[in-house]
């Protein structure tokens, strides 16, 4: 497919609506990023997504976009709630994979000598790595409670505080979850993975806030320069993957019934108001709640490990949630489209919601400022806190990037460097590494990813989000 991109703004490139596309496409990127994006044929995947019935305005890609399967990672598509479809492939297998940032009352400087012991404690407390089960062993009944209650279930079970929920997207649980929709196999896979990181690009990092760009927003978020913070990146683990796989199989079979022709099977979908569409939405919400519960239990484990290692009481540690937001999800939202309000199903696959000041879905404590947006960098590089803007609401359904975006395959990365050598390099830079898999570490080498600073800069300059603070890693726990 020969796709031409036309520059429509400093950081916006458009694909014209052609063939079976129902809307044009738009890619947010800098000129510098464009050759790589073109080589990866991201535009082709943006065009494929534009074939989905009921899609509104544009098929979008964020600056960290790269080739995915079906849809690009960094893809955003909003479907009309009445006439549109829902697509598991546009959400991804790791339903509600997302990021949580914890603040503390401590400065990084005050605990610098304890980073090693802290990382040892976290390594011992938070299960990470392939197929590793956590401390919690749930019954099927309990897993269903997790599907319904999400982080609220976790707090009720003693893992965290009620005030944590105020700063989690959706107050800790998405409405619309049906705990009976996920299959028996999804329930089985969820039994021993609450409170686990997983592997691949999932991680837990101790970080230091090393720059504040927006003092007012940083203060509202409880962040200050030199502060010790914790960033957690994980999702719904095996049960989320199973929910997606189950739904894709059903939707492959439903495609012909609804006469939906698609350029890529992985975009299999069903109308939102069909039984298949409703079942998937309800199951996806259940998976989303599992991910929220997962990050909530990990938060509790991090607090316990930190208090034990530093011999501190909770009040002295002051570890609280800044925000928790997903970047693989479909949400029912109201947006302005063509001068009127419309209810849409906004699919974000490797893209983060970024709502502005005043939006009712932004936690009350942040409503004057806007929603925190958490953007992790690749291992060993900076992460960022941004804040959502009105421009994002107008142009991208309130969405920005989710991270650095891969630009090299895992195989190539592992060929280029050995995990132990990478760990040594990072330790030499003052970053403590804990992992069970040297190969896994090598696959996540910083050079395998785009430069997150560049990605964040494009989002900032394009007006989709404003930079609030930057963090640098002190310790990394990787599966």
């Amino acid at each position: 497919m020969d796709i031409k991109l036309r520059k429509v703004d400093e950081y916006v490139f458009e694909l014209a609506k052609t063939g079976g596309m129902r809307v044009p496409g738009r890619i947010y990127a800098s000129e510098r990023m464009l050759p790589k994006i073109e080589r990866e044929r991201v535009a082709e995947q943006v065009a494929n997504v534009a074939h989905l019935p009921g899609i509104v305005e544009y098929s979008l890609a964020m600056p960290d976009c790269h080739w995915g399967y079906g849809a690009p990672v960094g893809g955003v598509a909003a479907m009309d709630a009445k006439t549109g479809v829902i697509s598991p492939g546009m959400v991804g297998y790791d339903i509600s994979c997302g990021v949580r940032l914890l603040r503390s009352s401590l400065t990084a400087g005050s605990v610098r000598k304890m980073i090693g012991p802290l990382m040892d404690a976290l390594y011992g407390s938070v299960a990470s790595g392939v197929g590793k089960g956590g401390r919690l062993r749930l019954s099927s009944k309990d897993v269903k409670k997790v599907f319904r209650g999400g982080a609220r279930w976790a707090v009720g079970a003693g893992y965290g505080d009620a005030e944590d929920l105020e700063r989690i997207e959706d107050g800790g649980a998405v409405d619309g979850a049906d705990p009976d929709r996920p299959s028996r196999r999804a329930v089985e896979r969820g039994k021993n993975q609450v409170g686990t990181l997983g592997s691949g690009n999932h991680f837990l990092e101790l970080q230091e806030v090393d720059a504040v760009f927006d003092a007012g927003a940083a203060e509202a978020f409880g962040l200050f320069e030199g502060q010790l913070v914790v960033l957690i990146h994980t999702g719904s683990r095996g049960c989320g993957y199973q929910i997606c796989a189950d739904a894709l199989k059903i939707m492959q079979q439903a495609r012909s019934r609804y006469r939906i022709a698609l350029p890529d099977r992985q975009l299999a979908c069903a109308p939102l108001d069909s039984p298949e569409g409703k079942d998937y939405l309800a199951a996806m919400c259940a998976g989303s709640n599992y991910a929220r519960a997962n990050r909530q239990v990990i938060t509790h484990l991090v607090r316990e490990a930190a208090m034990r290692t530093l011999s501190m009481a909770p009040r002295e540690l002051g570890m609280s949630v800044v925000y928790d937001v997903s970047h693989n999800i479909a949400k029912m939202e109201i947006h302005d489209v063509g001068g009127g309000k419309r209810r849409l199903c906004v699919h974000r696959k490797g893209a983060t919601r970024a709502f502005p000041a005043g939006h009712p879905d932004v936690p009350a404590a942040y409503r004057d400022v806007g929603q925190p947006v958490l953007v992790p960098g690749s291992m060993g590089t900076h992460s960022y806190v941004l804040v959502g803007t009105e421009r994002a609401m107008r142009e991208t359904f309130g969405t920005v990037c989710h991270g650095a975006g891969r630009m090299m395959s895992r195989t190539q990365a592992a060929k280029r460097i050995k995990g132990r050598d990478l760990a040594r390099e990072l330790e030499d830079k003052g970053i403590a590494i804990r992992t069970d898999s040297w190969r896994g570490l090598a696959e996540e080498a910083p050079f395998a990813y785009k430069n997150v600073c560049e990605v964040v800069d494009v989002c900032h300059r394009a007006g989709l989000a404003r930079k609030v603070a930057r963090m640098r890693p002190l310790g990394v726990l990787k599966g």
């Binding site: 790269h66 080739w67 392939v130 197929g131 095996g238 894709l248 099977r265 395959s409």
Partner: protein, 139 residues
Amino acid sequence: MAAGYKIFPHTSEVGLWIGAATYKAFYRNAARGFLDILGLKNARGPARSQMSVSLKAITPEELLVDWLNELIYLVHTKRVIPRVMRFDKADATILNARIAGPILNEGAAVAAEIKAATYHGLKVARRGGLLTARVILDV
């Protein structure tokens, strides 16, 4: 291209090419490639666990995805390494097999966590006398 399997790179996932003369060999090679990606192709140990797998699909692509997803479930959830496979029936839309293998111990080294097999760009086709497919696995 000779029958067998090949692992090929993808920016964020892993690709597996499979080629075989018959459907039985096709599914067997898919399993071998899958175990290779996990670093388990040479896993040894007595076959302590046995199970039956019965799959039915409308297209060969769906069946291949179902088969690989079944293997993912066996390894990552049931913690069985599917080393011995006996196919009672294997064609484009039906697969009945008996699988046995050693237990994967908690903490045993596994090279990757495969989330699922995807349908992305997937086509099972005969090329040069071989059944072939290129499947992307989400890791």
